[in-house]
Symmetry: D2
Subunit: 137 residues, 4 copies
């Protein structure tokens, strides 16, 4: 089962789902999970590249982005006593980190396919965070 | 993009991919990520149920399973200097945890839809771990 | 070895340590790690209490706080290509989460010793985040 | 407060503490948390070294070890419905990972102080896992 469908199904099965649009929320959870996965893989692939010396900043940002996306995905998944106020700052931190990581991976996208894929995933996650922040206004 | 496709694409883009069958590996990474997500959601939904007192064991096992699946998914994603020997024990721990969590969630599957979905995801992850352990022989 | 000493020793051993006051930074890393540990334990102890129904909000906030503190501790630990700008939003999210979790745990501090200890640890982490944010100005 | 004292205090405050020797358990939780912290820092410091090309294996093992120690520390912290059987495989995986990471860091201990500190912390965690596995027999 794709993670997207799973996130939506699980949100629908919660006894007290929060008041936020569940499609927007499920999409953001899915992108956080996918972005964490993509960044973990890109940090590792970058480490194995011949030009690893030039990839240090990418590796560092990908490791940070993986950790932040993973934590954000978990926080957003929890619907019990949900409070938008509390999730918003974490969501903003996640959006900022995804943007920074995307920017750096885009610089290497032409010569490293994993950076191209990762940059695209970071941009999708950045957008999903923006959409959810808007839905929380 | 579904996490499954993403995992496979990222493995293919690694400069030194390991020697394990990449379809089996990508499927296992995908299921670890999906199972972590499902268990985080099921622990939270169980906490909100009226019969939370009877759900304590489920919550505890789901929290453990989420942590173990997340760590296992990260370890399996890394292909640099991959050594099957090192991943095997973690993979066995993950398989065992998924089986225990599935067993407990199955006990609540009839009255809680989130437990039914979570039990199925845990079983899929258990099978994917078994398949990867076999591919590593 | 206490985590505090370890964090400081590891920062001192980095080939390109960042420009931030290392004592303030090491203290914040230490408190993030300790707070994640305390919140994981308090969520679990609260789940086992007879009044678990009244502890739902505590459990949810402790689980979030553990995830956010852990991610923040990892991000702050990384000194390669350190950029204060990037860590600040995550640090603010962590400070806010610690404050919310402390507030809720304080409400239960008289009847649950684990909540009293956890609230104190959350307040120490909140202060350490504030001190580091000031040092980053 | 040092993490060691915190872990012990929190275990003592649990309404249904497990049957395992709490000093041995608290020490193992503390070492898992400290080892995760040390490995995150050592991976990052190794990435910044001039000989990063020779540090790839260390970085990979440190990242894995951090993830596995963190998950193991969380699982061991949970006392609700504790079952030694379930923790044992994870604990064995953690001990094996710490041993492998220590071995690799020891190879770089003479020229990189962070590897020397990290190798010592990994060995302490390996021993604490062994002691807890023995206490669980």
């Amino acid at each position: 089962m794709a993670t997207a469908t799973l996130s939506k199904e699980m949100l629908d099965a919660h006894p007290w789902p929060g008041e936020i649009d569940r499609d927007v929320l499920a999409r953001c959870i899915q992108e956080c999970v996918a972005c964490a996965q993509s960044c973990t893989a890109c940090a590792d692939a970058s480490l194995a590249e011949e030009d690893v010396v030039d990839m240090r900043r990418t590796i560092r940002l990908c490791l940070d982005c993986a950790d932040i996306c993973e934590a954000t995905g978990r926080v957003l998944t929890r619907q019990t006593d949900f409070e938008a106020r509390l999730s918003k700052t974490q969501l903003s931190a996640c959006r900022q980190e995804c943007a920074s990581c995307a920017e750096e991976c885009e610089r290497h996208a032409e010569h490293h396919e994993h950076c191209r894929i990762c940059a695209e995933e970071c941009r999708r996650c950045e957008e999903a965070c923006s959409a959810l922040l808007e839905a929380m206004e």
